[in-house]
């Protein structure tokens, strides 16, 4: 005490513990006091609100917490209904987090070297503690994520959630869809087993396939975009170490970063676009107008100060906060429950089912049949008609076509309503029937009669025509025609869009099933895998 009393003053100690005078005994007291309340001070410096016990402090928690503020402070009751979202976006996101965690763990032992990669997979499975479990979770989550992205896309589409003002988020979603597929593709190359090696071979040759067109046009010498793409991917003219390094960098660094950036924009836009699309509650729609003052007109107590000069159709303007509940706990607990469910399912899958690992890569002999994972089987079927159109052309057309749907169909629509009501449901059913018939018909035809390269009479047809006109492009043309016809018949672009989307979805499912079950050795048709010839 005396040591600190360097500069005595007339103030009596202790009358103001919060106020500190240098060298005074009061400072020591304050110091001890601060020490005593240190845990609370630290907590208060992290979270600025009190315990989340009242609606008010919970709202503050949602607003003031970086992680919670992806949620609005209040959520509309309709948004919380399971049938509005099926929880698929959240599940996808949770799967991605699981993938990041298990992926980083796998990176600790995995070696991206053509001579060591395969062995390191065996180490991970049989030597590394929990290695096999982590690998299984990683693999099953990857499969589940692809499935959930597709289902999420379908639910967004069928509930009209892709329409204005959410059309840009739909485009961001298409980007996420593509990146997710690329992540899966680059992922299953890493074990360097038979699947990996031949998938890279085929994938890089698909990247080279624009040559099919440049060759047919005779301009490959001047403009070899296909060759450039292949060199960029492989870093060589054959599949080897350079290729593995590149795919590794893509898988663990570039693509995850792109995905994280896109997910950030995506989730942020969900809020900025007015929250989840949900069933309307019949508010008379007043035309958006300028509010020059912050005077509240109506029951809303929110001040719209910054909105004063916004004239656009920003979804929040002029909407009241009716029928909402605090997001904490309602939305937060829903998200928590979904996360726990997702993680639980993945843990169980990972515990009981081992992820496959084929034989070590053999550059001399592919497996027969060499099948891609399920989500690429439809693509493999298409590639089996034409490398360029199946691997590049049709996927590009489909992704572009889907992305543009909400820009071409601007009908004002009640959102959050599945299939836009009964007529949409009917259109979807008819489209399902139509697609099933033409797709199965086309498959039966090609299995029995082949296509132009098999026919004597088409020997003289120019290559470019054979490339452009194949079962895949014919189907896409039929779907487009069906969609246009639906627009004309129902005079509704929304119903036409439902027709088109349903066609693509059903065709994807049929192709996937067909390639999974009915393709055998040499990609020939078999009724069942049990009827495959044995060597």
């Amino acid at each position: 005490m005396t040591l600190l009393s360097i500069k005595p003053t007339g103030q009596s100690p202790g009358d103001d513990p919060g106020h500190r005078y240098e060298g005074e005994p009061g400072a020591v007291k304050a110091y001890l006091h601060n020490l005593k309340v240190l845990p609370r001070t630290i907590r208060d410096s992290i979270v600025r609100h009190g315990r989340p016990v009242s609606d008010r402090s919970r709202s503050q928690a949602v607003m003031g917490n970086f992680f919670l503020h992806v949620l609005p402070t209040r959520t509309h009751v309709n948004s919380l209904k399971f049938k509005t979202t099926l929880g698929l976006g959240v599940i996808t996101l949770v799967l991605f987090f699981l993938l990041v965690i298990t992926g980083v763990l796998l990176m600790i032992y995995y070696k991206p070297d053509v001579n060591q990669a395969y062995d390191s997979m065996w180490d991970i499975m049989y030597v590394v503690p929990t290695g096999r479990f982590m690998r299984n979770i990683h693999r099953w989550s990857a499969h589940a994520m692809v499935a959930c992205v597709i289902l999420h896309m379908a639910r967004v589409f069928y509930t009209s959630a892709c329409k204005a003002p959410r059309e840009f988020n739909w485009v961001v979603g298409m980007g996420l869809f593509v990146v997710t597929l690329f992540l899966s593709f680059t992922g299953y190359l890493l074990p360097w087993d038979q699947l990996a090696f031949w998938a890279i071979t085929i994938g890089s040759n698909i990247a080279q396939s624009p040559r099919e067109v440049t060759e047919a046009l005779g301009i490959t010498q001047q403009f070899d975009i296909g060759g450039m793409q292949k060199e960029l991917l492989l870093g060589a003219h054959y599949v080897g170490q350079e290729a593995l390094t590149r795919f590794y960098v893509l898988h663990v660094m570039i693509l995850p970063m792109v995905l994280v950036a896109l997910v950030g924009v995506h989730v942020w836009r969900v809020r900025k676009d007015g929250g989840l699309a949900r069933a309307a509650e019949r508010i008379p729609s007043t035309p958006p107008q300028i509010r020059a003052t912050t005077k509240s007109s109506g029951p809303s107590t929110k001040t719209w100060g910054l909105m004063a000069i916004i004239r656009s159709k920003t979804p929040h303007v002029d909407k009241e906060m009716t029928n909402t509940v605090p997001s904490y706990p309602n939305a937060l607990y829903a998200v928590g429950a979904l996360s726990m469910l997702t993680v639980a399912v993945m843990l169980i899958m990972g515990y009981f089912f081992d992820a496959p690992l084929r034989e070590i890569a053999n550059p001399l002999v592919p497996e027969n049949p060499a099948k891609a994972p399920w989500y690429f089987l439809g693509l493999q079927e298409l590639v089996g008609y034409s490398a360029f159109m199946g691997g590049v052309g049709i996927p590009a057309i489909v992704v572009l076509g889907l992305a543009l749907i909400p820009y071409l169909d601007r009908e004002q629509e009640e959102t959050g309503r599945w299939f836009s009501g009964r007529s949409g449901g009917r259109v979807a059913l008819w489209s399902l029937l139509f697609t099933a018939i033409v797709t199965v018909g086309m498959l039966v035809f090609t299995v029995n009669y082949g296509w132009m390269r098999n026919w004597e009479m088409t020997r003289t047809v120019p290559q470019i025509v054979i490339v452009l006109v194949n079962p895949g492009t014919v189907l896409v043309t039929l779907f487009a025609a069906w969609s246009v016809w639906t627009v004309r018949r129902t005079s509704s672009t929304r119903l036409g869009a439902i027709a088109l989307f349903t066609c693509f979805l059903v065709a994807f499912a049929i192709m996937t099933y067909f390639a999974l079950v009915h393709r055998g050795p040499n990609w020939q048709f078999y009724w069942w895998p049990s009827t495959w010839p044995v060597h």
Partner: protein
């Protein structure tokens, strides 16, 4: 630049309260120009930097293995035989008259290895391309025939197969 300015007022109508504000000064043409120039310079720089960054992964030297391999003297191949050199992904044929040729088994569709059947046909396991005994397309997605590879004789009398060089269909080495 002038055009931007002229209808600038139309493009951004302001609420009366703001337009009348004294503090709000609409941009002058020169500032407009400088601003735009700055933006385009920044974009240009970014673009050039992007091209520079993209240049790195485009290799200018390729790691290559030697594409020429010695495969033994012609006498090692019986007349009227077909021999599969698995590690070279090629089939070596020797006709009854002694003429020799080599056909690559790398599928011209997407690079899988087509297997030769007892009938002489080649079938590809990946998407079902079919080729006849001479490598010509019979069906499936392959756009062109299997290539015939160059065969030559080294000074020591051994056959040399070059997997990078194809020769015209029907070219045979009399040996």
């Amino acid at each position: 630049m002038g055009g931007t300015k002229k209808n600038g007022e139309q493009q951004h109508p302001l609420p009366p309260s703001l337009a009348q504000s004294e503090r709000f000064v609409p941009p002058k043409t020169r500032r407009d120009f400088l601003g735009l120039a700055a933006v385009w310079t920044a974009l240009g720089t970014f673009f050039v930097a992007l091209v520079g960054a993209m240049r790195l992964p485009m290799p200018s030297v390729f790691p290559e293995s030697n594409s020429r391999s010695k495969i033994g003297p012609p006498s090692a191949f019986q007349k009227g035989s077909a021999t599969h050199l698995v590690h070279l992904q090629a089939w070596i044929f020797r006709d009854n008259d002694g003429g020799m040729y080599a056909i690559s088994s790398v599928c011209t569709h997407l690079g899988c290895i087509a297997g030769r059947q007892d009938t002489g046909e080649f079938l590809c396991p990946c998407h079902g391309s079919r080729f006849n005994a001479g490598g010509e397309v019979l069906g499936g997605p392959a756009p062109s025939a299997l290539s015939w590879l160059e065969l030559s004789i080294a000074p020591d009398g051994q056959l040399v197969l070059d997997r990078q060089r194809s020769v015209k269909r029907g070219t045979r080495l009399m040996a």
